[in-house]
């Protein structure tokens, strides 16, 4: 099968973008190495997986809402569905969504004709899709963490490892694009903030995913050969749980905040204030997001896992540095909005809503570092993860709305997108706040033997507080996730019913960065010529006369 893609070195070819002539039928999708096609595939599929994650989370909430007996499924199944919720939300949902957006947008932003490794990106998508499907299927055959069938649990571990490899390859492709394929004049200092955030967060993901891969390999071998020291199916989640709490959790927030950083100045109609400071803050958040060190420990005899890092210096410093970074970024965006003439368009609304959730989540993470509050291991951490991942999702959907002309050649309908985003944020808040309160009351999170020890028909891990109150909070949390699913469905509908009729034009928002110079949707090769790049906002410069528009250069490789 022919793979359709642009050459990576099209100095001459890119000078004359050619119309896209896709091959007919399924080959147009399966055989495509076009970053926009691959990015759209990642985005669409991850939204489907996110709906699965949302439904799973809502079911867990409903199950825990009544301790008198099983509402939906057995106690051990509740644990498994909870792990499905986490895995699908992060590794099949928000992270691939951000990678997909980056695959489609980053080459445009840096003035490249395509990503660094178009075929590898395409292969990564298909491998991720198949592995993600197998991962879900493993739950259906009594696998997943805490599953009863060892082979099915092993299948889950292998599928997750393959998912990690696929995400590694896709991330590597976009990171290499930013490092090597920037247009002439675009130094790293002048890189648009979304591309910069992909570079810094992607680099840390490239350091994190191999650690996950190594842990999954040894977990699989232990499962397969005697379950000697990692606890068998009951211990699998302990090996991957560090992905779902701080600081690793913050790595999904970084590209989401990068999206916000590109959206805010465009709708403020003003250059981003203190662009360099924003780069440093995004870099700082990425650096503190390397969390592979904060894992549950392992003992040779399979004994209780120590956490020697908890409440120690690095843990506390990381928790509070993340707050500094995020609040600093919010401050810069307020400066930018105050200096400009803000237009309250849909992408800005979604970006602000996502930022709100991320800020609350990161601040909640700071609270877990205070030993006296005794929040570690409680559903407070679940609430924090819900806020950060949910906020990143809303901001990413703001990015999809922002770059929809480049992705789909159409704008998304305002009403549907705003309604969906609002429902999503509302659902996330309604899901997370009760979880946080229940955590403060002492409810342990569902990520260990807590539920199994409690036995069926009991609220897991309630160590203090009123059981009825905790049940009610769990039920409300489930309702919140159901509302979030509704919001997701509304956005999916908006995506499917993109505005018909004439296209939105090449630059409907009066954008600041290079992607707004090319057609909507972009032709193969992306650019005929580029303006001189003397700042981080070359299109803004050209529009405001900072440089002469005639001073153009040939498109780069």
């Amino acid at each position: 099968m022919t793979v359709t893609e642009a050459s990576r070195e099209p100095v001459e070819a890119a000078a004359t973008p050619v119309p896209v002539v896709p091959p007919p039928g399924l080959a147009a999708v399966v055989g495509s190495g076009d970053p926009r096609t691959v990015g759209k595939l990642f985005i669409g599929t991850s939204l489907v997986f996110l709906l699965v994650a949302g439904v799973a989370g809502a079911l867990v909430g409903f199950e825990l809402g009544d301790a008198s007996g099983k509402q939906v499924f057995e106690a051990d199944t509740t644990l498994r569905v909870f792990t499905l919720h986490g895995t699908a939300a992060l590794l099949l949902g928000v992270l691939p969504l951000l990678i997909g957006l980056a695959t489609a947008v980053v080459p445009l932003q840096v003035g490249a004709a395509t990503v660094a490794f178009p075929r590898a990106s395409a292969a990564a998508y298909w491998v991720w899709l198949v592995a993600g499907g197998i991962l879900l299927a493993s739950y259906a055959i009594d696998g997943g963490p805490f599953g009863a069938d060892d082979d099915a649990v092993g299948l889950y571990v292998l599928a997750l490892a393959v998912v990690a490899v696929a995400l590694f390859v896709a991330t590597l492709s976009v990171v290499t694009t930013v490092l090597t394929l920037r247009a002439p004049g675009m130094s790293l200092r002048r890189t648009p903030l979304f591309s910069w955030s992909v570079l810094v967060a992607g680099t840390v993901w490239l350091l994190t995913l191999p650690v996950l891969g190594g842990m999954l390999l040894v977990t699989y071998l232990d499962l397969r050969y005697g379950q000697q020291f990692l606890g068998g199916p009951q211990g699998v989640y302990d090996r991957i749980a560090w992905l779902f709490w701080q600081p690793t959790l913050y790595l999904v927030a970084v590209p989401a905040l990068g999206i916000v950083a590109d959206v805010v100045p465009v709708f403020a109609q003003r250059r981003h204030q203190r662009h360099g400071t924003a780069m440093v803050l995004l870099g700082l958040l990425s650096a503190v997001g390397f969390g592979a060190w904060a894992q549950l420990g392992v003992t040779i005899d399979g004994g209780e896992a120590p956490t020697p890092w908890l409440f120690e210096g690095p843990w506390v410093v990381v928790s509070f540095l993340a707050i500094v970074a995020v609040l600093g970024l919010v401050g810069l965006w307020n400066l930018t909005l105050a200096a400009g003439r803000p237009r309250l368009s849909t992408p800005l609304v979604l970006a602000q809503m996502g930022t709100l959730a991320i800020v609350v989540g990161v601040v909640a993470g700071g609270a877990t570092a205070i030993d006296a509050l005794d929040l570690d291991g409680t559903t407070w951490m679940t609430a924090q993860a819900t806020m950060v991942v949910g906020g990143a999702l809303v901001a990413a959907l703001g990015g999809v709305a922002f770059w929809a002309p480049k992705l789909y050649g159409k704008l998304l309908p305002d009403a549907g997108t705003r309604l969906g985003g609002t429902l999503l944020l509302l659902g996330i808040l309604v899901a997370a706040v009760p979880q946080a309160v229940a955590g403060a009351l002492g409810q342990l999170r569902l990520a260990g033997a807590g539920l199994l020890d409690a036995g069926p028909g009991t609220v897991p891990g309630v160590v203090r507080g009123d059981v009825d109150t905790v049940e009610l909070l769990d039920l409300v949390s489930g309702v919140g996730l159901a509302v979030a699913v509704l919001g997701g469905l509304t956005i999916a509908t908006a995506l499917l019913r993109r505005r018909s009729g004439e296209g939105p034009g090449d630059d409907p928002w009066s954008g600041h960065t290079l992607e707004w110079l090319t057609t909507s949707p972009p032709a193969v090769g992306h650019f005929a010529s580029l303006p001189p790049i003397t700042s981080e906002a070359p299109v803004y410069d050209a529009r405001h006369g900072a440089v002469r528009p005639a001073d153009t250069t040939e498109a780069p490789a």
Binding site: R8, E9, V11, A116, F117, F168, L172, S173, V175, T176, L179, T180, L181, P184, L206, L207, L209, P210, V211, G213, G214, M215, L217, V218, L221, D222, Y225, G226, Q228, F229, A292, G297, V298, T299, I300, T553, E554, P556, A557
Partner: protein
């Protein structure tokens, strides 16, 4: 003929020179090789941590009956160290457009790599315990097995570059691919030095 002011103006109005060829494959390989090395080092770190815990309790690390011999591991280290020179030879030969020497260096490098894999397999045979016999054995098989897999990828990378060299695609400045393969190989050998020290030397 003397250069006139008009000539200089022509030069100043000329389009900028094309950008330097971006080292896409080299950078991508550096990131990919780092990822492979990190996966392996994660297992090495787990091994070292568990070993330290056991020794701190005053117990013996390697279970009775296991036999991690010094010779196969050290021979592997020596073999891979030699291959560093032969891989560097490939790069230098291709930069000099000397395909004959490059192909010879490719062949020697691949033979050395195969010898290392053979030595690793011999080491597994001599260990005297199976992978399911203890956590220690499981970790040793996992670490050394993963490194052999990493070496296999490196051999494949070198072999592909060798075919490209035979086809005349890798010469002079266009030899980025073989530089990338060499980089991957150097990371593979560096990673093995950690494995060798952790498992063969300190056991």
């Amino acid at each position: 003929m003397a250069t006139t002011a008009t000539d200089l103006e022509v030069f100043s109005a000329a389009p900028p020179s094309p950008p330097a060829r971006p080292r896409v494959l080299l950078v991508g390989t550096a990131l990919g090789a780092s990822g492979a090395a990190l996966t392996l080092l994660t297992l090495v770190a787990l091994y070292a941590r568990l070993r330290a815990d056991v020794l701190a309790r005053g117990e013996v690390w390697l279970p009775e009956g296991s036999n991690v011999q010094l010779t196969p591991g050290s021979m592997g280290m020596a073999t891979l160290t030699l291959s560093l020179f032969t891989v560097a030879w490939i790069v230098q030969a291709l930069h000099n457009d000397d395909r004959g020497h490059a192909l010879m260096a490719f062949a020697v490098s691949l033979v050395l790599a195969a010898a290392y894999v053979n030595g690793a397999a011999y080491g597994w045979q001599q260990m005297g315990v199976g992978i399911a016999s203890s956590p220690q054995a499981l970790l040793i098989f996992a670490i050394t097995g993963l490194h052999v897999a990493m070496t296999g990828v490196g051999m494949l990378f070198l072999a592909v570059m060798a075919f490209k060299a035979v086809g005349g695609q890798l010469t002079g400045r266009a030899a980025e691919g073989v530089s990338a393969a060499a980089l991957y190989w150097f990371v593979t050998v560096a990673t093995y030095s950690v494995v060798w020290y952790t498992i063969t030397i300190t056991k």
